[in-house]
Symmetry: C2
Subunit: 271 residues, 2 copies
């Protein structure tokens, strides 16, 4: 693939293998909020290194990341190790570090989504939301937010007006956000991009009027299918806010109506 | 603590530290199903070794376990490592192995549940279910199941009749089980026991009439509070069954109505 045809996301998450089985990468300042590199983007960078470690199992099936500290734009290293390689999947470990200090440690099982059986008996329901053109674009969001979050321009992100009160000073108090997402350059999402999309929406705490930074402690993502071309529907919800922490669940649905990825994270409450 | 006053659970999950920072343990044949040691019980054994590794942070806040293969009753080893120790929590890795072969690899963040702030703004709702005495006891379940699952006698487990159709040949098809659980010797659950309780109920697939073994690939548990004395209410549900795998969520609520633990697992569908 030439640079001309590479998507913005593919370029920004590229890793370069070294002989010692570590990967060099350059964390892109365009994928930051308030100067810190976004956690979902970092998950995709780690995922790309893991995928390169076991090329026969290119796709994340499940990945659990523990965030140890903030990551800054600039050079970083991903060290991967194969823990167990089976016939249809491999379980691996990965550590992302900057200047020798680990910022994320992760475990994952990778496989081949295209080789899975095609049964679907999902009982979860697609989020009920208006068409993208009837939703509020993040590009029309508050100027202060857009200035603070360069990552916002990496996506075409649309919020269901029914859950977009956070942007107009009237959060609903339910802890629920719904909407749509796709890459701003029009590239379709691949399984690694779903890892970014799972943590791309504003925190569900925004819908409770709590706008501070909510650092993720742990995030586990399940990727269940290769997404079809087009918009991805998003639902983000928090149901358990207690003891200074909160749990947040995210679902991603592709344009055929399939639940292609889910995540749950444990985060510290905004101050 | 003398052996006389130790609970059955504490005895069965005991670990002995060695000078090389590994822990020896004896996996108890009473905590098995069809000869394989139960995954939740194994999580508690790993949790006990992690707790002993960082005594200032005794409680699991979040733990992610990747199951690599079955574990058998008998001797096993848990190797732990501190990845990052902070002021209020520590992130660690752990590997359970038998005869030199890893069967589980895990990451976890441990802290002190008693030291957390006491805010509770949980919007999840306590499962709606009858009192324990109006539920079906597992002790009255099918003889063949009880013979196959010695672990069943480790718990006093009660099923809401509305979701107990799996036991009488009439599963509801919703993929939902509700009920109550406590230790059969009457000991109250501590935070480590919640890790066992999260994977103690039958798989939600039973409510879909699919009774085969469903091996867990990955399970992440959040423990949010020290449970109050008494029964623990349980809700187990699956919402995304596709591609040969399924996701299953479990909630545990204590006798004061607090959501004390949650888990999500990705498992392979029963054949």
């Amino acid at each position: 693939m030439t640079t001309e045809t590479q998507s913005d996301f593919a370029r920004a998450t590229a890793v370069t293998g070294r002989p010692d089985s570590t990967f060099a990468t350059d964390l892109d300042g365009a994928w930051t909020v308030a100067g810190a590199v976004n956690g979902g983007y970092l998950l995709s960078v780690i995922g790309r290194a893991l995928s390169a470690t076991v090329p026969e199992f290119p796709d994340p099936l499940v990945i659990s990341a523990y965030y140890l500290g903030r990551s800054d734009p600039g050079s970083a290293e991903v060290a991967t190790r194969i823990i167990r390689a089976g016939r249809s999947s491999a379980t691996l470990g990965a550590d992302l570090s900057q200047a020798g200090a680990p910022t994320i440690t992760a475990l994952a099982t990778f496989g081949s989504l295209g080789a899975l059986p095609d049964d679907v008996a999902t009982s979860a329901r697609h989020p009920d939301l208006p068409a993208p053109e009837d939703c509020m674009s993040i590009a029309d969001g508050p100027r202060e937010y857009l200035d603070l979050a360069p990552i916002a321009s990496r996506f075409d992100m649309r919020f269901d007006p029914a859950t977009a009160g956070f942007a107009t000073g009237a959060p609903s108090g339910r802890g629920l956000l719904r909407g749509w997402i796709r890459h701003s350059d029009g590239a379709d999402a691949d399984p690694l991009a779903l890892l970014t999309f799972l943590d791309a929406f504003p925190p569900a705490m925004f819908d409770l009027g709590r706008f501070g930074w909510a650092p993720t402690m742990e995030l586990t993502a399940h990727v269940r299918a290769i997404p079809a071309s087009g918009w991805i529907a998003v639902k983000v919800e928090t149901r358990n806010i207690a003891g200074g922490m909160f749990e947040e669940d995210c679902e991603l649905w592709d344009s055929t109506g399939r639940l292609v990825a889910q995540s749950r994270q444990l985060a510290r409450q905004p101050r």
